[in-house]
C-alpha cells in the first residue's frame, strides 16, 4: 500500500473517531462510528488481511451497528443540547483522560514498540490460512467460545420468552431465575 493511502485512510479513521465523540446527535455519532469501522476495514484489506477486513464490515458495520441503531431508537435518546454531568464528575473525568493519554504516550514512546512494517508472505490473511489456524492451534478456544455464545443465546431467549397464558414477560423471567 502506498504511504499516502495509509496516511489518508488513517486520518479519515481518526477524524470519524473524533466525530463519534463530538457529535451531539446520537445517530450522527453512530454514523461516524460506522465510518471509522469501514476505514479500518479498508486498511485491513489493503494490508492483505482480507478476511479480517470483510468480517469487520459484515459483523461490526453490518450487524452490531444496526443493533446500536435499534437501541438508540427504542431508548428514544435525544439530541444533547448542552453540557451534562456534575462539575466534580467532569473534573475527575478530565483528570482520568489526561492520565490515560500520558500512560499511552509513555508506552508508545519506547523505541522497541515502534511500528515496523514487515512483508507477510502472500495469502497470509486468506480464509484458508485463518481457518487452518482456527481449527488446529486455536481449536479449544474456538469451541469454548462457541458454547459460551450458544449459552448466551439460549439465556436471552429464556429471559425474553412469554409463558403461555401470561402477557407479562416479567413472569417468565421469574420462572427462569
Amino acid at each position: 500500500m502506498p504511504p499516502f493511502v495509509y496516511i489518508f485512510l488513517g486520518a479519515l479513521a481518526v477524524v470519524s473517531a473524533l466525530g463519534v465523540v463530538v457529535q451531539r446527535n446520537p445517530i450522527h455519532s453512530l454514523l461516524a462510528l460506522i465510518g471509522t469501522l469501514m476505514t479500518v476495514a479498508i486498511l485491513f484489506i489493503a494490508e492483505d488481511a482480507v478476511v479480517v477486513g470483510f468480517l469487520q464490515i459484515i459483523v461490526y458495520a453490518g450487524a452490531i451497528m444496526v443493533l446500536f441503531l435499534f437501541v438508540i431508537w427504542l431508548l428514544n435518546l435525544q439530541v444533547e443540547t448542552g453540557p451534562t454531568g456534575h462539575l466534580v464528575l467532569k473534573f475527575f473525568g478530565s483528570l482520568g483522560a489526561a492520565l490515560l493519554v500520558a500512560e499511552l504516550f509513555s508506552i508508545l514512546a519506547r523505541p522497541h514498540l515502534q511500528v515496523k512494517f514487515t512483508r507477510q508472505p502472500a495469502g497470509y490473511g486468506s480464509l484458508a490460512s485463518l481457518a487452518g489456524k482456527l481449527f488446529t492451534d486455536y481449536l479449544v478456544a474456538f469451541e469454548v467460545t462457541s458454547v459460551l455464545l450458544l449459552a448466551a443465546v439460549v439465556g436471552s431467549v429464556a429471559l425474553a420468552r412469554k409463558l403461555p397464558g401470561t402477557d407479562d414477560p416479567r413472569a417468565a423471567r421469574d420462572v427462569a431465575s
Partner: protein, 371 residues
Amino acid sequence: MTIELIAGAIKAILMIVLGLNLSLFLLYFERKGSALIQDRIGSNRVTITGLGKRMGMPNLGIINTTIADPVKMFTKEDFVPAGADKFLHTLAPFLALFPVMITFVVIPFGDSISIAGHRIGLEAANLNAGALYLLATIGLGVYGVALAGWSSNNRWALLGGIRATAQMISYELAMGLAIVSVIMTFGTLNLQEIVRGQGGVWFGFLPRWGIFVQPLAFILLLVAGAAESKRIPFDLPESESELIQGYFTEYSGGKQAVFMLTDFAEQSLVAMLLTTFFLGGWQVPWLMRDGFHLPGGAFLAVPALAVSILGVVAFLVKVVALCIFLGMVRWTLPRFRYDQLMRLGWKGLVPLGLFNVLLTAFVVVATGRVQ
C-alpha cells in the same frame, strides 16, 4: 498493463450500466407486465411523434415507462419536511443505492477472452474473497432504509424503517447460510471459480449446475433474496395500506426515484446471484470451450469467440428470466403479515439453512473433497 486498466474500466462501467438497464426493464415490467398479469391494459398513451400510432402499431407503453416516468420524477419538487434531519434525509437514498451498485462488480458475466495476447476475465473484479465481499456489501444496505425512515420526522416512515431493518437483518442470515453451503460445495469464495465449477455434465445430459446439487439452498436464497429486496410478498416496510409508503413516505422527486431504483437494482442483483450460484452463471448447457457436446455423442464445433459471446448471452437470458419470475411472484402473491414474516425467517429459513450447511458438510467430508 494499460490494456488491463482500460478493460477494467470498461467492465466496471458495463456492469453498472447493466444493473441500471435491468432496473429500467424491471420498471417497464412493473407497469406493463403487471397489467398483463392482472388483465388490464396498462400505460399506453405517450408517443414521441405519433408515428407508430399512425402506422397502426399498438402502443406498448415503452416511452411511458422508461422515459416519461423517470423524467417526471426527476423534475418534480424535492421536498424536505419540517423538522427532518436535512443532511441524513438527503444522504439516505444514496446510502441505500451505493451498496447495491458496488455489489455488481463481482458478478462474473462471461468466461475470459483474449485481446491482443492478454487474457481478460469477464467480471469487473475477480476477488478471491468475492463471496465475503458480497455478504459485506449486502449487509450495508440496511442503513439507507433505516436512516430514511428515521430522518423523515414521520411516524409512518419510522415504523417502515424499523420494519425494514428488522426484516433485512433477519433474512440476511438465511441468505448467508444459503451462500455458505454453496461455498462449501464448490470449495472456493471466488465467484468466477464457482461458475467454472458448474461446467460439464452428469450422466451425459444433466448440466452440473448448482441447483441440482443444492436445491434447498436455491429456494432459501430465492426467498431470502426476495425479502432482502423488499418486494411483495415481503413489502412490509412500505405496505401502502398501513404505512402510506413506509420508509420513503416523505420523499419526492429524484430522491424517491433513487429509492425505487434501489429496489429494482436489488431485484436484478438477486437474479444475478441466483444465476451465478445455481444456474451456472455464463455456462451454456453442453457447451465446452470447443463447441457443443450434445447428449448422445453429437458434436458441433463453435469458434472460441462465439463461445464467449454465447456465454454472455446465456448469462443475460438467465438473469432476465429470473427477473421476470421475481416480478410474476410480486404480482401474484398477497403480502405477509408481520408475525408470519418473522416466523418464516427465524423458524423456517434459518433452521433449514443450518440443516443444509450440516448436510453439505457431511457430504463434502464423505466424498473426500477436503484438502
